[in-house]
């Protein structure tokens, strides 16, 4: 955690997102509080369908039009969900930017990558001379570890890792203070993943940006982040300092997540993959009590009665579980 209590770059206050669907309202995010300070790396962990990408989309008001958002989404002190369109436009890219999941599908296949990186710069700084934009593009490519000659490449000529670097260069194009990265290393090889994580770490250190990183892989977050929050069925079920959450998980769901990837060399994990039976609940038909109860190895009848609140069970360790401490 950054020592002084400066204004956070991102301050989510009791955010909910509900999709309107033909089968009725679908609560995707159900009351999330989260902050990211300058130079801080915060991780959001959870499985597909837990609402983490939906939450990320609210940071720049990119959620689909059928989604109703309540609560406050404060980015650099402005509530992006209510500010005027012009102010929002100024904030996107230059105040905060997003590195989307799936670099292949987010890049334009018929445009050279130099032009794609230049686009947000030209939109935000229309007075900047052409060669100054070109210089900035080259700087950005170097910053993310790509040869400047790559600006003439098309996305299909790059490997997955290189495309991800381009996505990061684009996100940095207008010098934002806050970057949101949605699954930046999913679908990459381990070695390339390690390279991208190193790059993100260096960028945070050099540029002092705040980084919110979303991943289903808790071990990746444990490695990179200062703090992590674990989401399940639209809520945060546990948060705290990254390595503590990973090495000493208190919520049974977090424990399952952190145990999912074995410690190589641990004899106990040989021929014993750790898993969790069942699937996450359908957000339209959430169980009445704790949403993890149907899959929870520690569940007792009380768990099905009411949704447990997020309670600070240890300093800096809020957990939403009435069975904390049980094994």
């Amino acid at each position: 955690m950054t020592g002084t209590r400066t204004e956070p770059l991102l301050d989510l206050v009791d955010v909910t997102v509900t999709y309107r669907t033909s089968e009725g309202p679908l609560p995707a995010v159900r009351g999330i509080d989260l902050t990211v300070g300058p130079g801080e790396v915060v991780g959001l962990a959870g499985e597909s369908g837990c609402g983490k990408s939906t939450l990320a989309s609210t940071v720049l008001r990119l959620q689909p039009s059928g989604a109703a958002v309540t609560g406050e989404v404060n980015v650099l002190g402005q509530d992006v969900q209510t500010i005027a369109w012009g102010k929002l436009r100024a904030l996107r890219w230059a105040g905060a930017s997003i590195v989307f999941q799936g670099a292949l599908h987010s890049l334009n296949p018929v445009q050279r990558i130099g032009a794609q990186i230049a686009e947000p710069i030209r939109v935000h700084e229309p007075d900047l001379a052409k060669d100054a934009v070109a210089r900035r593009v080259e700087e950005l490519l170097e910053q993310v570890g790509l040869a400047t000659s790559r600006k003439r490449s098309y996305p299909h000529q790059l490997s997955g890792g290189q495309r991800q670097r381009v996505m990061i260069a684009m996100a940095l194009a207008c010098r934002p203070q806050l970057v949101v990265a949605d699954e930046p290393t999913t679908a990459l090889d381990v070695m390339v993943q390690a390279q991208i994580l190193d790059l993100l770490r260096d960028l945070v250190r050099e540029l002092g940006v705040g980084l919110l990183i979303i991943s289903h892989d808790l071990s990746v977050l444990a490695d990179l982040c200062d703090r992590v929050a674990v989401m399940y069925a639209g809520r945060v079920v546990e948060s705290g300092r990254a390595e503590q959450v990973f090495t000493d998980p208190l919520h049974p769901y977090t424990r399952a997540l952190s145990g999912a990837f074995p410690r190589i060399g641990d004899p106990a994990a040989r021929y014993a993959p750790a898993g969790l039976a069942g699937d996450p609940p359908d957000p339209r038909e959430l169980p009445p009590g704790c949403s993890f109860e149907p899959r929870c190895p520690l569940a007792v009848p009380e768990c099905a009665e009411a949704e447990p609140p997020l309670v600070e069970v240890r300093p800096g360790r809020p957990v939403a579980c009435i069975r904390v401490g049980e094994r």
Partner: protein, 332 residues
């Protein structure tokens, strides 16, 4: 050693690139898998691991070398391939993309049963619906009848993967070849699918060749590992040997960047696997080898060999073997 169930001997696969260069996806590979054994073929994208899997099941013809099923070379006639595939089944990567979106679960699983005439040949005289139900149940989809009429979009990722496995199981193969069976699944589902593969081995004596970049998966289920780099196996042995005492600098680097590993200092290699149309001379890993860069190879007097002398192809005899000049100098 007994005759392996499935074996690759000196496999080479060459593709012609658009520019007319030959790209060697496989450049001399020996691997073998015994009955009921779980072998992990580990490597990054571009290592040739998927090409190896495709060649093992006859989807790709080798340019040189042979695939042998119980010691007999594979016949690439339609009949020969059908015979192979009734005994060896492949579960493709990307469950969502491998299922026909317009086919029900029942149809997807029944397809193989029909193709191989398994209703007529069933010893217990079961009906097609019985066979489909049994396969779904074995894959952990219970009760199976409830899923018969579902379409892929109605299933979760884990369920789709199970349907694919059920489709393979329905044919009672002796070996399953699984290409990245859990890479697109959520962490909590992953363990369930791996446990299923282990259970199939235990209950049905089924062998598994799993192609993956995930070393944790290998530690979870594999008996033996072959680590591939640029079309060759660079290290092989039992899982314990290879992952607890890796000897090849590439294996060491791969292991060191797994986030859960704390017994190795992370070594992040620069760059990516080179293009297989330009395989470096000498040791194919030398341009990225940290041992060579840091002068450790030079101290051992092998730096020249690393750059110039190519390494022999590793035999698949089950011993812990490493294709590395430095390792050879240390052991030798």
């Amino acid at each position: 050693m007994t005759t392996p169930f499935l074996e690759a001997r000196g496999l080479e696969v060459e593709f012609l690139t658009r520019t007319g260069h030959a790209a060697r996806a496989l450049d001399g590979v020996h691997v073998s898998v015994q009955r009921g054994e779980i072998l992990a073929i580990v490597g990054e994208s571009g290592s040739g691991k998927t090409t190896l899997a495709r060649t093992l099941i006859g989807l790709q013809r080798p340019t040189a070398g042979q695939v042998l099923l119980e010691g007999a070379p594979l016949s690439y006639s339609q009949k020969g391939l059908r015979a192979l595939r009734s005994r060896v089944q492949m579960v493709l990567q990307d469950a969502a993309g491998s299922l026909n979106p317009r086919q029900t679960v029942y149809e997807s699983v029944a397809e193989g049963i029909r193709l191989h005439g398994r209703v007529a040949s069933d010893p217990d005289g079961r009906s097609e619906a019985d066979l489909v139900a049994a396969a779904l149940a074995e894959a952990g989809l219970r009760p199976p009848e409830r899923l018969f009429l579902r379409y892929p979009h109605e299933l979760s990722g884990g369920q789709k993967q199970r349907v694919l496995i059920a489709g393979a199981l329905a044919l009672r193969p002796e070996l399953i070849l699984a290409d990245e069976p859990v890479s697109s699944l959520d962490a909590s589902i992953r363990g369930e699918i791996l446990a299923l593969l282990l259970k199939l081995r235990q209950d049905l004596g089924m062998g598994v060749v799993v192609v993956t970049h995930d070393l944790g998966l290998a530690w979870n289920i594999a008996d033996r590992i072959a680590v591939m780099y640029l079309g060759r196996v660079v290290e092989c042995g039992t899982t314990e040997e290879v992952l607890s005492r890796p000897r090849h600098p590439y294996t060491q680097a791969l292991l060191s960047v797994v986030p859960e590993i704390d017994f190795l200092e992370p070594v992040v290699l620069t760059g990516e696997i080179p293009d297989p149309s330009r395989i470096p001379g000498g040791c194919r890993f030398h341009p990225r080898c940290p041992q060579l860069v840091e002068g450790i190879a030079a101290e051992a007097g092998v730096a020249d060999a690393c750059r110039r002398t190519s390494l022999p192809v590793l035999p698949a005899d089950g011993d812990h073997r490493v294709a590395c000049h430095l390792d050879a100098a240390r052991v030798g």
